[in-house]
Point group: C3
């Protein structure tokens, strides 16, 4: 499964990144449609999901946000917007495809965030948090812009799949596993946990309302 | 119309910047008043509209936020707050003045954002996005703080006027037009599009609800 | 009262910082519990209150966010989450303790924000704003994530206590007072103003609705 050919690995990574960005943008645009946003609002929402997490990560790492160095993300979001405008009715039938792309994107963005943070010389626990932010913060920005309570805080195992993938990455790194193996196993960890959580309706416990405080 | 005297140009720019900052701050404070915010909440809301877009731009460009280098913006927001407290009832009669100042501010902030981004060596498409963020993101922050759905995502031509102004700037730059002409024409483009959109109730198409997804 | 022993001062500062971080995290988790967030959502909310203000400050100052350099804040929030899960019912009886810890944390974070900003060479009025952001912005992020209108904008004297503390710091600095005295007096100013405001229900005037504008 793990090819040593760096050219194929690079192409595979670019394909997953495009599909993931596309699925993230579609998610933002569809949520915007449910709120009667116009085309511009849909575009901003899609773009925020696609690049929001990585942008927060890059600002905290003190580097230029990744999307400012290649027009791929701006164009990919534009394609997603045109896609939703033209094929809006068909989208619901493709829910399995979006789920698959979204999960691949989540896993890839997570690993990419971990590696970028480690490259900058930060501790592993910082890298795991940054991987989680890269994968999951875009959806939180989307929910804030749409005036919804962020769905990942009360409903789904999403960010926790990133944390689990990050811990596996750390363990394999600590055990001295080769980098390609480390990447593939932690990538699959994110995908499998997210799949199982959705398939078997697994979620985290809810905080007791007894502890609640609304001032 | 286009004076070559750099002193007069500079004064004109400062006057427009003050009027624009003032109009942006007034907009934030009036929205805060509609939500029964106190004086402090009104000040923060007004300040967020006035400096929010430029601050996001500067953080992404990796430079010190512009308002930290001159007390003008902090003071201008304070004047706006006092103005609203003293003359609250009169404000509605001045709606045409606010609209004019707000439009001048939008156009100026847009051009300023484009030029600052180009000066830092970024591509033109990045500069157009940054110009749009400089002009329009403050209002989005205001709406998020007030728990409203951002108005520019579903109701008005506002950010698209910035995008159009940015494209005109790009075109004139590409054609080798002199800088003052480029600035004035793209400035007027933003003002005229915004004016026509409000005057004739022109808005972007709404996304079809068929494509909607609220999870 | 003011000891000259730097070792004891340092320990005292660390204890207050831990208690303040803990109280801030508890505040975020309890608000999350009132909204039926799960454990992950509670953790993120608690973390956002504890580190949100200082992170915005550090990003605007152009330095690495403080919590990325020590695992204390991540661990302290985890302890707070476990505490809420285990002792949720007891929390309401401890309201006076939370109020005391929260006020100590607010005062400490405010002073720390002022000093960090001055060290970076910024003007005093920038430092006062940064101190205010360090102390109060985390709670605003919490309210935005929970889809509430930020409580500090319409209900409580909270950020204004920071501004008052900052002005006292400025005055004493201007008068040439020794640094320890300056710190202690401005620290106590924040605590006392916050205590008096809550004790005697003192709040800022509300903006007149006549000035309101909701577009």
């Amino acid at each position: 499964m793990i090819t040593a050919d760096p050219h194929i690995v690079h192409i595979l990574q670019e394909v997953i990144e495009f599909l993931g960005t596309f699925a993230f943008a579609i998610s933002g645009i569809r949520h915007a449609a449910a709120r009667h946003f116009d085309w511009f609002g849909g575009y901003v929402c899609g773009f925020a999901v696609a690049i929001g997490g990585g942008t927060i990560r890059d600002v905290m790492l003190g580097v230029t946000p990744f999307w400012m160095t290649s027009p791929m993300y701006v164009l990919c979001t534009a394609v997603a917007l045109i896609f939703v405008i033209l094929f809006g009715r068909l989208l619901k039938r493709l829910d399995n495809a979006w789920f698959a792309f979204d999960t691949l994107g989540l896993a890839l963005f997570n690993i990419a965030g971990i590696q970028k943070t480690l490259t900058m010389g930060h501790a592993f626990w910082v890298a795991i948090i940054m991987g989680c932010i890269t994968g999951a913060a875009g959806g939180v920005i989307r929910d804030v812009l749409l005036n919804n309570i962020p769905v990942i805080f009360h409903k789904e195992i999403y960010a926790m799949a990133c944390v689990a993938g990050g811990l596996v990455y750390w363990l394999l790194f600590y055990l001295g596993a080769p980098l390609p193996l480390t990447i593939v196993v932690s990538f699959l960890t994110v995908c499998i946990i997210r799949y199982l959580a959705v398939r078997y309706h697994i979620s985290l416990p809810i905080l007791s309302k007894d502890a609640g405080d609304m001032d």
